[in-house]
Protein backbone atom coordinates (compact mmCIF):
# COMPACT_ATOMS: atom_id res chain seq x y z
CA UNK A 1 0.00 0.00 0.00
CA UNK A 2 1.34 3.36 -0.98
CA UNK A 3 0.22 6.02 1.48
CA UNK A 4 2.23 8.69 -0.33
CA UNK A 5 0.52 10.71 -2.99
CA UNK A 6 0.68 14.22 -4.43
CA UNK A 7 -2.15 15.47 -2.25
CA UNK A 8 -0.46 14.51 0.98
CA UNK A 9 2.82 15.91 -0.30
CA UNK A 10 1.16 19.20 -1.15
CA UNK A 11 -0.40 19.43 2.30
CA UNK A 12 2.98 18.97 3.96
CA UNK A 13 4.58 21.51 1.63
CA UNK A 14 1.92 24.04 2.49
CA UNK A 15 2.72 23.59 6.21
CA UNK A 16 6.47 23.96 5.53
CA UNK A 17 5.91 27.16 3.56
CA UNK A 18 3.62 28.72 6.12
CA UNK A 19 5.82 27.84 9.11
CA UNK A 20 8.96 29.15 7.40
CA UNK A 21 7.38 32.44 6.41
CA UNK A 22 5.74 33.04 9.78
CA UNK A 23 8.87 32.22 11.75
CA UNK A 24 10.99 34.40 9.50
CA UNK A 25 8.51 37.29 9.69
CA UNK A 26 8.45 37.05 13.50
CA UNK A 27 12.25 37.18 13.71
CA UNK A 28 12.52 40.04 11.22
CA UNK A 29 9.79 41.95 13.07
CA UNK A 30 11.38 41.58 16.52
CA UNK A 31 14.86 42.34 15.20
CA UNK A 32 13.34 45.29 13.34
CA UNK A 33 11.95 46.74 16.57
CA UNK A 34 15.38 46.32 18.16
CA UNK A 35 16.91 48.13 15.16
CA UNK A 36 14.36 50.95 15.39
CA UNK A 37 15.00 51.43 19.11
CA UNK A 38 18.77 51.64 18.61
CA UNK A 39 19.05 53.32 15.24
CA UNK A 40 15.66 55.02 14.83
CA UNK A 41 17.05 58.54 14.95
CA UNK A 42 19.78 57.95 12.42
CA UNK A 43 19.27 59.34 8.93
CA UNK A 44 18.05 56.80 6.37
CA UNK A 45 20.36 57.30 3.43
CA UNK A 46 19.82 54.80 0.65
CA UNK A 47 20.11 57.18 -2.30
CA UNK A 48 23.64 56.08 -3.08
CA UNK A 49 24.48 52.41 -3.32
CA UNK A 50 27.26 51.27 -1.04
CA UNK A 51 26.07 47.73 -0.55
CA UNK A 52 25.27 46.04 2.75
CA UNK A 53 28.38 45.61 4.97
CA UNK A 54 30.35 42.43 4.40
CA UNK A 55 29.17 40.92 7.67
CA UNK A 56 25.64 40.81 6.20
CA UNK A 57 26.59 39.26 2.88
CA UNK A 58 26.93 35.52 3.40
CA UNK A 59 25.39 32.77 5.49
CA UNK A 60 28.62 32.28 7.42
CA UNK A 61 29.19 35.99 8.08
CA UNK A 62 25.60 36.54 9.22
CA UNK A 63 25.68 33.61 11.63
CA UNK A 64 28.96 34.98 12.99
CA UNK A 65 27.68 38.56 13.42
CA UNK A 66 24.38 37.54 15.00
CA UNK A 67 23.81 38.33 18.65
CA UNK A 68 22.16 40.79 21.00
CA UNK A 69 24.61 43.52 20.00
CA UNK A 70 23.75 43.44 16.29
CA UNK A 71 20.03 43.68 15.50
CA UNK A 72 20.62 44.02 11.78
CA UNK A 73 22.43 40.70 11.66
CA UNK A 74 19.34 39.17 13.25
CA UNK A 75 17.16 40.79 10.56
CA UNK A 76 19.46 39.19 7.96
CA UNK A 77 19.15 35.86 9.77
CA UNK A 78 15.36 36.12 9.53
CA UNK A 79 15.70 36.87 5.82
CA UNK A 80 18.03 33.88 5.40
CA UNK A 81 15.34 31.73 6.97
CA UNK A 82 12.90 33.13 4.45
CA UNK A 83 15.25 32.31 1.56
CA UNK A 84 15.59 28.82 3.03
CA UNK A 85 11.81 28.28 2.98
CA UNK A 86 11.38 27.57 -0.74
CA UNK A 87 14.59 25.54 -0.63
CA UNK A 88 13.09 23.44 2.17
CA UNK A 89 9.98 23.11 0.05
CA UNK A 90 12.03 21.64 -2.79
CA UNK A 91 13.85 19.33 -0.37
CA UNK A 92 10.53 18.07 1.03
CA UNK A 93 9.26 17.51 -2.49
CA UNK A 94 12.36 15.47 -3.20
CA UNK A 95 11.67 13.22 -0.21
CA UNK A 96 8.02 12.97 -1.22
CA UNK A 97 8.80 11.96 -4.80
CA UNK A 98 11.34 9.44 -3.51
CA UNK A 99 8.67 7.91 -1.28
CA UNK A 100 6.31 7.83 -4.25
CA UNK A 101 9.12 6.03 -6.11
CA UNK A 102 8.80 8.52 -8.92
CA UNK A 103 12.31 8.41 -10.37
CA UNK A 104 11.74 11.06 -13.04
CA UNK A 105 10.65 13.61 -10.47
CA UNK A 106 13.43 12.69 -8.07
CA UNK A 107 15.87 13.67 -10.83
CA UNK A 108 13.96 16.84 -11.76
CA UNK A 109 13.72 17.94 -8.12
CA UNK A 110 17.41 17.19 -7.47
CA UNK A 111 18.44 19.49 -10.31
CA UNK A 112 16.36 22.34 -8.90
CA UNK A 113 17.75 21.75 -5.41
CA UNK A 114 21.34 21.75 -6.70
CA UNK A 115 20.87 25.13 -8.43
CA UNK A 116 19.41 26.62 -5.24
CA UNK A 117 22.20 25.32 -3.01
CA UNK A 118 24.80 26.64 -5.43
CA UNK A 119 23.30 30.13 -5.21
CA UNK A 120 23.04 30.25 -1.42
CA UNK A 121 26.55 28.91 -1.00
CA UNK A 122 27.84 31.53 -3.42
CA UNK A 123 30.36 33.95 -1.90
CA UNK A 124 31.62 36.79 -3.98
Amino acid sequence: MNTWNDERLERIISIVLRTGVMLSAAIVFLAGICYMVRHGNEVANYHVFQGAPNKYRSVRAILHAMGPSDCRATIQFGLLLLIATPIARVAFSLVGFALERDRTYVVITSIVLAVLLYSVGFEH
Binding site: G32, Y35, N41, S58, I75, P86, I111
Partner: protein, 277 residues
Protein backbone atom coordinates in the same frame (compact mmCIF):
# COMPACT_ATOMS: atom_id res chain seq x y z
CA UNK B 1 14.48 61.41 6.81
CA UNK B 2 15.28 59.34 9.91
CA UNK B 3 14.79 55.60 10.14
CA UNK B 4 11.76 56.15 12.40
CA UNK B 5 10.05 57.98 9.52
CA UNK B 6 11.50 55.99 6.64
CA UNK B 7 10.66 52.50 7.92
CA UNK B 8 6.86 52.92 8.46
CA UNK B 9 6.58 54.69 5.09
CA UNK B 10 8.36 51.85 3.31
CA UNK B 11 6.16 49.37 5.18
CA UNK B 12 3.00 51.12 4.01
CA UNK B 13 4.09 51.35 0.36
CA UNK B 14 5.11 47.69 0.43
CA UNK B 15 1.82 46.61 1.98
CA UNK B 16 -0.14 48.27 -0.84
CA UNK B 17 2.20 46.72 -3.44
CA UNK B 18 1.80 43.28 -1.87
CA UNK B 19 -1.98 43.59 -1.78
CA UNK B 20 -2.24 44.54 -5.46
CA UNK B 21 0.33 41.96 -6.48
CA UNK B 22 -1.47 39.10 -4.77
CA UNK B 23 -4.91 40.08 -6.09
CA UNK B 24 -3.69 40.07 -9.67
CA UNK B 25 -1.30 37.14 -9.36
CA UNK B 26 1.51 39.27 -10.74
CA UNK B 27 3.48 39.53 -7.50
CA UNK B 28 4.34 42.45 -5.24
CA UNK B 29 7.90 42.97 -6.44
CA UNK B 30 6.80 44.47 -9.70
CA UNK B 31 5.31 47.48 -7.90
CA UNK B 32 7.55 47.78 -4.86
CA UNK B 33 10.79 48.56 -6.72
CA UNK B 34 9.43 51.43 -8.83
CA UNK B 35 7.59 52.77 -5.78
CA UNK B 36 10.77 52.83 -3.69
CA UNK B 37 12.95 54.33 -6.40
CA UNK B 38 10.42 56.85 -7.72
CA UNK B 39 8.79 57.96 -4.46
CA UNK B 40 11.68 57.71 -2.00
CA UNK B 41 14.73 57.93 -4.27
CA UNK B 42 16.16 54.62 -3.04
CA UNK B 43 18.98 53.26 -5.22
CA UNK B 44 17.49 50.68 -7.59
CA UNK B 45 19.90 47.96 -6.41
CA UNK B 46 18.73 48.25 -2.79
CA UNK B 47 15.13 48.24 -4.03
CA UNK B 48 15.74 45.18 -6.19
CA UNK B 49 17.34 43.29 -3.28
CA UNK B 50 14.52 44.10 -0.86
CA UNK B 51 11.92 43.34 -3.49
CA UNK B 52 13.42 39.96 -4.29
CA UNK B 53 13.32 38.94 -0.63
CA UNK B 54 9.72 40.10 -0.36
CA UNK B 55 8.85 38.12 -3.47
CA UNK B 56 9.83 34.95 -1.61
CA UNK B 57 7.56 35.93 1.28
CA UNK B 58 4.65 36.69 -1.05
CA UNK B 59 5.02 33.47 -2.94
CA UNK B 60 5.42 31.21 0.07
CA UNK B 61 2.72 32.99 2.08
CA UNK B 62 0.15 32.88 -0.70
CA UNK B 63 1.14 29.49 -2.08
CA UNK B 64 0.30 27.90 1.26
CA UNK B 65 -3.31 28.99 0.73
CA UNK B 66 -3.44 28.04 -2.96
CA UNK B 67 -2.04 24.56 -2.41
CA UNK B 68 -4.88 23.78 -0.03
CA UNK B 69 -7.44 25.02 -2.58
CA UNK B 70 -6.11 22.46 -5.06
CA UNK B 71 -5.43 24.88 -7.91
CA UNK B 72 -1.66 24.69 -8.24
CA UNK B 73 0.06 21.78 -9.98
CA UNK B 74 3.22 20.75 -8.16
CA UNK B 75 4.61 18.68 -11.05
CA UNK B 76 4.23 21.44 -13.62
CA UNK B 77 5.84 23.79 -11.10
CA UNK B 78 8.79 21.55 -10.32
CA UNK B 79 9.55 20.70 -13.93
CA UNK B 80 9.48 24.32 -15.06
CA UNK B 81 11.54 25.40 -12.05
CA UNK B 82 14.58 23.82 -13.71
CA UNK B 83 14.23 26.51 -16.37
CA UNK B 84 13.35 29.38 -14.03
CA UNK B 85 16.14 28.75 -11.48
CA UNK B 86 18.83 28.48 -14.16
CA UNK B 87 17.47 31.62 -15.79
CA UNK B 88 17.45 33.37 -12.40
CA UNK B 89 21.13 32.57 -11.83
CA UNK B 90 22.01 34.07 -15.20
CA UNK B 91 19.86 37.14 -14.51
CA UNK B 92 21.40 37.72 -11.07
CA UNK B 93 24.92 37.55 -12.50
CA UNK B 94 23.98 40.00 -15.26
CA UNK B 95 22.30 42.34 -12.76
CA UNK B 96 25.53 43.53 -11.16
CA UNK B 97 27.11 44.10 -14.56
CA UNK B 98 24.29 46.25 -15.87
CA UNK B 99 24.32 50.05 -15.27
CA UNK B 100 21.43 51.23 -13.07
CA UNK B 101 20.03 53.49 -15.78
CA UNK B 102 19.74 50.50 -18.11
CA UNK B 103 18.18 48.45 -15.30
CA UNK B 104 15.55 51.18 -14.83
CA UNK B 105 14.73 51.17 -18.54
CA UNK B 106 14.45 47.38 -18.73
CA UNK B 107 12.32 47.50 -15.59
CA UNK B 108 10.03 50.03 -17.23
CA UNK B 109 9.66 47.91 -20.36
CA UNK B 110 8.81 44.82 -18.29
CA UNK B 111 6.29 46.89 -16.32
CA UNK B 112 4.67 48.15 -19.52
CA UNK B 113 4.40 44.61 -20.71
CA UNK B 114 2.82 43.57 -17.40
CA UNK B 115 0.30 46.37 -17.72
CA UNK B 116 -0.57 45.42 -21.27
CA UNK B 117 -0.81 41.74 -20.37
CA UNK B 118 -2.90 42.56 -17.34
CA UNK B 119 -5.42 44.67 -19.24
CA UNK B 120 -5.71 42.30 -22.16
CA UNK B 121 -6.81 39.40 -20.02
CA UNK B 122 -6.56 35.87 -21.28
CA UNK B 123 -8.27 34.84 -24.45
CA UNK B 124 -9.79 31.78 -22.86
CA UNK B 125 -7.49 28.82 -22.41
CA UNK B 126 -8.24 25.96 -24.76
CA UNK B 127 -9.88 23.47 -22.48
CA UNK B 128 -8.66 19.97 -23.27
CA UNK B 129 -6.12 21.04 -25.85
CA UNK B 130 -4.18 18.18 -27.37
CA UNK B 131 -1.64 17.05 -24.78
CA UNK B 132 2.08 17.21 -25.51
CA UNK B 133 3.35 13.59 -25.49
CA UNK B 134 6.22 14.64 -23.22
CA UNK B 135 3.75 16.31 -20.85
CA UNK B 136 1.83 13.07 -20.63
CA UNK B 137 5.00 11.15 -19.89
CA UNK B 138 5.88 13.66 -17.17
CA UNK B 139 2.38 13.33 -15.68
CA UNK B 140 1.72 17.06 -16.02
CA UNK B 141 -1.93 16.83 -17.07
CA UNK B 142 -4.23 17.30 -14.10
CA UNK B 143 -7.51 18.55 -12.77
CA UNK B 144 -8.72 21.45 -10.64
CA UNK B 145 -11.88 22.25 -8.68
CA UNK B 146 -14.31 23.81 -11.19
CA UNK B 147 -17.86 24.99 -10.66
CA UNK B 148 -19.29 21.54 -11.37
CA UNK B 149 -16.73 19.27 -9.78
CA UNK B 150 -13.15 18.59 -10.88
CA UNK B 151 -12.22 19.76 -14.38
CA UNK B 152 -9.53 17.96 -16.37
CA UNK B 153 -6.89 19.78 -18.37
CA UNK B 154 -3.99 18.87 -20.64
CA UNK B 155 -0.63 20.54 -21.08
CA UNK B 156 0.64 21.36 -24.59
CA UNK B 157 3.74 23.00 -26.14
CA UNK B 158 6.03 21.96 -23.32
CA UNK B 159 9.28 22.98 -25.04
CA UNK B 160 8.05 26.48 -25.83
CA UNK B 161 6.82 26.81 -22.26
CA UNK B 162 10.18 25.67 -20.91
CA UNK B 163 12.04 28.22 -23.02
CA UNK B 164 9.73 31.04 -21.97
CA UNK B 165 10.26 30.02 -18.35
CA UNK B 166 14.02 30.35 -18.71
CA UNK B 167 13.45 33.90 -19.93
CA UNK B 168 11.05 34.59 -17.06
CA UNK B 169 13.69 33.35 -14.62
CA UNK B 170 16.37 35.58 -16.17
CA UNK B 171 14.13 38.66 -15.89
CA UNK B 172 13.36 37.70 -12.29
CA UNK B 173 17.05 37.50 -11.42
CA UNK B 174 17.92 40.67 -13.31
CA UNK B 175 15.23 42.87 -11.77
CA UNK B 176 14.44 41.17 -8.46
CA UNK B 177 10.81 40.56 -9.35
CA UNK B 178 8.77 37.37 -9.39
CA UNK B 179 8.04 37.86 -13.11
CA UNK B 180 4.68 36.22 -12.53
CA UNK B 181 3.27 37.90 -15.65
CA UNK B 182 5.74 36.08 -17.90
CA UNK B 183 5.23 32.80 -16.08
CA UNK B 184 1.48 33.09 -16.51
CA UNK B 185 1.92 33.80 -20.25
CA UNK B 186 4.09 30.71 -20.62
CA UNK B 187 1.54 28.51 -18.91
CA UNK B 188 -1.77 30.10 -19.87
CA UNK B 189 -1.02 31.15 -23.45
CA UNK B 190 1.71 28.78 -24.65
CA UNK B 191 0.95 25.62 -22.69
CA UNK B 192 -2.85 26.04 -22.54
CA UNK B 193 -3.03 25.47 -18.81
CA UNK B 194 -6.27 26.86 -17.28
CA UNK B 195 -5.87 30.43 -16.03
CA UNK B 196 -6.42 29.73 -12.33
CA UNK B 197 -3.99 26.83 -12.38
CA UNK B 198 -1.47 29.03 -14.24
CA UNK B 199 -1.65 31.93 -11.79
CA UNK B 200 -1.49 29.81 -8.65
CA UNK B 201 1.25 27.53 -9.96
CA UNK B 202 3.15 30.65 -11.04
CA UNK B 203 2.82 32.05 -7.54
CA UNK B 204 4.08 28.76 -6.18
CA UNK B 205 7.13 28.82 -8.47
CA UNK B 206 8.04 32.44 -7.85
CA UNK B 207 9.56 31.74 -4.43
CA UNK B 208 11.85 29.01 -5.72
CA UNK B 209 12.91 31.16 -8.67
CA UNK B 210 13.64 34.09 -6.36
CA UNK B 211 15.61 31.91 -3.94
CA UNK B 212 17.91 31.00 -6.84
CA UNK B 213 19.02 34.62 -7.27
CA UNK B 214 18.75 35.57 -3.57
CA UNK B 215 22.11 34.02 -2.67
CA UNK B 216 23.86 36.03 -5.39
CA UNK B 217 22.07 39.26 -4.38
CA UNK B 218 23.09 38.68 -0.75
CA UNK B 219 26.75 38.28 -1.67
CA UNK B 220 26.65 41.50 -3.71
CA UNK B 221 25.22 43.51 -0.81
CA UNK B 222 21.83 44.17 -2.47
CA UNK B 223 19.99 42.88 0.60
CA UNK B 224 20.25 45.82 3.02
CA UNK B 225 18.56 44.94 6.35
CA UNK B 226 17.24 48.48 6.94
CA UNK B 227 15.19 48.37 3.72
CA UNK B 228 14.53 44.66 3.34
CA UNK B 229 12.94 44.50 6.81
CA UNK B 230 10.00 46.91 6.22
CA UNK B 231 9.60 45.80 2.58
CA UNK B 232 9.39 42.11 3.46
CA UNK B 233 6.98 42.66 6.37
CA UNK B 234 4.83 45.08 4.38
CA UNK B 235 4.59 42.99 1.24
CA UNK B 236 3.81 39.89 3.30
CA UNK B 237 1.00 41.62 5.22
CA UNK B 238 -0.49 43.05 2.03
CA UNK B 239 -0.24 39.85 0.05
CA UNK B 240 -1.88 37.74 2.76
CA UNK B 241 -4.82 40.10 2.72
CA UNK B 242 -4.93 40.00 -1.09
CA UNK B 243 -4.62 36.23 -1.37
CA UNK B 244 -7.64 35.78 0.85
CA UNK B 245 -9.72 37.67 -1.68
CA UNK B 246 -8.37 36.11 -4.89
CA UNK B 247 -10.72 33.20 -5.16
CA UNK B 248 -13.98 34.48 -6.53
CA UNK B 249 -12.63 37.99 -7.13
CA UNK B 250 -13.79 39.81 -10.23
CA UNK B 251 -10.80 39.38 -12.44
CA UNK B 252 -11.57 41.92 -15.15
CA UNK B 253 -11.97 44.97 -12.90
CA UNK B 254 -8.78 44.02 -11.06
CA UNK B 255 -6.79 43.65 -14.22
CA UNK B 256 -7.73 47.08 -15.48
CA UNK B 257 -7.02 48.80 -12.18
CA UNK B 258 -3.65 47.17 -11.91
CA UNK B 259 -2.80 47.80 -15.55
CA UNK B 260 -3.25 51.56 -15.16
CA UNK B 261 -1.16 51.77 -11.97
CA UNK B 262 1.62 49.70 -13.51
CA UNK B 263 1.64 51.62 -16.80
CA UNK B 264 2.12 54.95 -15.04
CA UNK B 265 5.03 53.54 -13.05
CA UNK B 266 6.53 52.00 -16.17
CA UNK B 267 6.69 55.31 -18.00
CA UNK B 268 8.25 57.03 -14.99
CA UNK B 269 10.88 54.30 -14.69
CA UNK B 270 11.83 54.66 -18.36
CA UNK B 271 12.04 58.45 -18.05
CA UNK B 272 14.21 58.10 -14.95
CA UNK B 273 16.48 55.66 -16.73
CA UNK B 274 16.83 57.78 -19.85
CA UNK B 275 17.71 60.82 -17.75
CA UNK B 276 20.42 58.65 -16.26
CA UNK B 277 19.59 59.25 -12.64
Amino acid sequence: MTNLEFTPLVFLISAIAGYLGALTGLGGGVVVTPALTLLLGVDIRYAIGASLVSVIATSSGAAAAYVREGYSNIRIGMFLEIATTLGALLGAFLSSRTPTSILAIIFGVVLLHSAWQSSRGHSGSLANARPDPLATRLKLNGSYPGEEGPEQYNVSNLKTGFGLMFGAGAISGLLGIGSGALKVIAMDQAMHIPFKVSTTTSNFMIGVTAAASAGIYLSRGYVEPGIAMPVMLGVLAGSMLGARQLIGARVRVLRWTFAIVVAVMAIEMIVTGVRGR
